[in-house]
Symmetry: C2
Amino acid sequence: MPYSPRETVQKTGFSLDTLRYYERIGLLDGIDRTAGGQRLFTDEDLAWLDVLRCLRDTGMPIARMRRYAELARDGDGTFAERAELLEEHDRDIERKIAELREEQAKIKEKIGWYRGELARMQQTSSA
Amino acid sequence: MPYSPRETVQKTGFSLDTLRYYERIGLLDGIDRTAGGQRLFTDEDLAWLDVLRCLRDTGMPIARMRRYAELARDGDGTFAERAELLEEHDRDIERKIAELREEQAKIKEKIGWYRGELARMQQTSSA
DNA sequence: GGTTGACCTGGTGCGCGCTCCAGGTCCTAG
DNA sequence: CTAGGACCTGGAGCGCGCACCAGGTCAACC
């Protein structure tokens, strides 16, 4: 069940430097060690890393991830706060998607304009 | 028709430093000057800045914006290349939105789990 | 028991996209 | 004609999120 650093890198896609960095800044807590000091990641750690990647890839800043990690460390009494944090983030994602769609529409319009001009030029030159 | 730096900042939302930066790195070309050397932005400049903001806000890196600006400077013969660049960016946006939706689904699921636990705890304590 | 390679810690560096600063110029108002 | 503020240039600094490096330790094999 415990994974070496190398295995964890392969399984999570995070670099070893990133894993160490996350531990340093408090996103990973209580990572086991061998007698010699090497990290041992559990399945639970990997699950947590999946959560972190999900939050990261949807644009949550590290400061908020730290807040979420802190709540998670504080046990089951923080479910409400954790839910609220995620709900706010969910709204952030929704807004971001809406903005992307709006900007994308403008870009599509511009593409259409170029394509129109190109078609017109084609016709003119062949006339 | 020409706008002072201050007016341009207000109209575009870019900071003055950003406008100067964009000019330095080649995203803005041929900005007029007063006799004394102060910038004068035209309506055309503002329209171009709107395009830049649209590309920036949808995550296009500056290097590609520079490429697009370069094509725009090279005149009407680059319509096809410009269209292709925007089409590729459009696909990037599409992929980004799809990824956000996927991750968002996971987050919603997690929120649901927290809300479920909270409801369960509520019931247990009142029983 | 010696070599090799994965891993450790602490610290510095980097790429991006601005942002700020120093030191000087221009322009409007009184 | 002087004061104040907006603006100029060139260059340094910054915040984020890692990436890299030096110098040392650990683990497994020959």
